[in-house]
Symmetry: C2
Subunit: 392 residues, 2 copies
């Protein structure tokens, strides 16, 4: 929650994918320099730096905040801090940057999100990500994230009806959207039939989750420059962060209804209310489709459709390009890729591009407002932001 | 840097040591409840939570922020964020809490620092901590922290004179101070002779560093409640955070003079200047003696003695109990223990106790101001705070 006094004024974004030649440091340095160049400012003008990064054993860099200083000698002696909230670490870093500005201790803040995942085997990545589950219960600690979200898909079937066709429709939509995004990891049409059928090239990775229901293992980084109201006007472009809400739920899934997505619902509604807008005002949304079932549950948490009827938002075209509220025009985590610490920053960087009329990939239709929803764990750390184009 | 508008109003602190029965979650829950009880508030009154925690592979909990919510059902749906800056993660979480309050988005903030280390072998802990060094240079990545600080001791000898007697004096002082601290990990007198001589019970652990020159491997947690100026007055006790400065240096030691401790010097001087005080105004200091050579270099960075003459502060009694500026009355990291993510919060919690006239262990002499200096890596993440007793 906040007043309309922090803006995004520049951004940087690496391609997402299997970036063999790049270390975590390389990725951080690359997008930091891009963002400074995009902002047309000297590094020395930056007051504070924040890094969103999960790690959890995927890279040996246990102390990554100061890696941002490697980008430019002018950053030496600036405060730099890493924020972590699992796959919402990027949004956590943005939230910290906003607080630094609103507190009066900074006017220009650089926020980077970064993750280097593909140096590990799939089993190692699965184990690292499972570290974002609750560790003090034997059963829960043994669940991988595909198993956890697969459980949600199973419960959905039990409580409402089988969600798997909707999940396939989401996968197919996001893959199609990514075709236009040059930074996306996958540029491959995946039609509904392919996504909806279990096959040799689309096997189950966990009960009720097919390969095409899962986001990707990715390397990548993104950066944005945040500015106070006073400083924002000097920049060529400006997008207002009208609100940013954070809601954490308890970690153990045994303590909550995993289909209710209460944390996402509260965060999104809080952000909309704080910004004084409704769903109808939004021109697009970038939301956390770590698994296709998550995107379906987010439709319901947003209020796009009643509980158990998220499929309607797909069936009537609402969330498709050209629809009333296109969701994940970027291709989403599903097809753009999901370098976990980078994701929240990437969502904001792409929303910034949309709202300045310079979209990367598919364009929303002259949007004034955009919604970003970034999530850590199974609806545990929930960040929703409403961004607004500055006009005139 | 800030205005005098955030206060510490309550604290919690576990014993530090080898706490076999306690998980990371147990430690977090314990101090969270202590702090809430100490503040005499309901959990639901807290607006935001921050966790300082390093981890780096020492526990499987890769996503620990929401573990704070395990302490009380009233914390569900509150924002909770983990901050990491290696061994200064505790101060990073406090800084984030201060920004949240000054930004207007929170009035009461709970900050916890926690680490569970002793579930690992010494070799595993050494490797986890080494993750706080620079990983993209083969030589630096191979250095353990004892080796890194041993290098500083060797350079000190080359540039000035042999620091080892001063280092032994620091170890001996801090062990003596810890005798009075019931929360300290070690309650064992270590006289100067013992600390200054290499023996079977005090071997070299790295070139120029004896066992008694190193801080401890510890489990522990600490918590503080921060309040806005508006809310602070309702509490029984209040200590003002007059300033908190953060300065990050570049990570590779190849890029800087490791004896200069430029980051610590800048952070401390910035904090003093922002608070409008000088060294002479301070009644005590809690500083980051991860290794005895670090405390010696911090005397010089503070300006207690010229470069190469930090020993004077020991020789003339300045930093000893009853001296002009007693340093680490708590026993310091050396003898109180150093659960890395907890340390920065512990320092503030103990300074809070000193400044409210309810010291835990040795008392400073009616102090009005206290300095806290918490450091991540080898002078990489540097946080200095000036705290002031509220009188009358």
């Amino acid at each position: 929650m906040m007043h309309d006094c922090v803006s995004i004024v520049a951004a940087g974004h690496s391609p997402f994918g299997r970036l063999h030649g790049s270390t975590l440091e390389d990725l951080i340095v690359q997008v930091t320099r891009q963002a400074l160049t995009d902002a047309a400012i000297e590094a020395a003008e930056i007051d504070a730096l924040f890094l969103g990064h999960f790690n959890s054993g995927m890279v040996p860099d246990g102390f990554a905040a100061s890696l941002l200083l490697q980008a430019d000698p002018g950053l030496r002696f600036k405060p730099a801090t890493r924020c972590e909230n699992a796959c919402a670490s990027g949004a956590a870093a943005i939230q910290a940057g906003i607080h630094a500005i609103l507190s009066g201790s900074a006017e220009l803040v650089l926020v980077v999100g970064a993750e280097k995942m593909t140096g590990n085997s799939t089993a190692e990545v699965t184990r690292a990500l499972a570290g974002a589950g609750y560790q003090n219960d034997v059963e829960e600690a043994g669940l991988s994230f595909p198993q956890l979200f697969g459980l949600a898909a199973q419960q959905y079937r039990q409580r409402y009806h089988c969600p798997m066709a909707s999940m396939a429709a989401i996968a197919s939509k996001n893959h199609a959207n990514a075709m236009a995004n040059p930074l996306a990891q996958m540029h491959k049409v995946m039609d509904f039939e392919h996504c909806n059928n279990v096959s040799q090239s689309n096997p189950y990775v966990a009960p009720s989750l097919r390969l095409t229901d899962c986001s990707l293992i990715s390397d990548g980084a993104s950066a944005i420059v945040l500015a106070s109201a006073r400083r924002a006007r000097q920049f060529r472009r400006e997008v207002l962060i009208r609100s940013m809400a954070q809601v954490n739920d308890v970690l153990p899934i045994a303590r909550r209804d995993i289909l209710a997505f209460e944390g996402p619902q509260r965060a999104i509604h809080l952000a909309l209310r704080s910004a004084g807008v409704t769903l109808g005002d939004l021109g697009f949304a970038e939301v956390h489709d770590c698994f296709t079932i998550a995107e379906l549950l987010i439709y319901e948490a947003m209020g796009l459709a009643p509980r158990g009827e998220g499929h309607r938002a797909l069936d009537d075209g609402t969330v498709r390009p050209g629809g009333r509220l296109p969701v994940n025009l970027s291709g989403g985590l599903k097809a753009k890729g999901h370098p976990v610490g980078a994701t929240g920053v990437s969502m904001h960087a792409l929303a910034f591009a949309q709202l300045t009329g310079e979209p990367i990939g598919l364009a929303a239709s002259n949007p004034e407002f955009g919604l970003v929803f970034n999530m850590g764990g199974m609806a545990v750390a929930n960040y929703a932001s409403v961004l607004q184009a500055r006009r005139g």
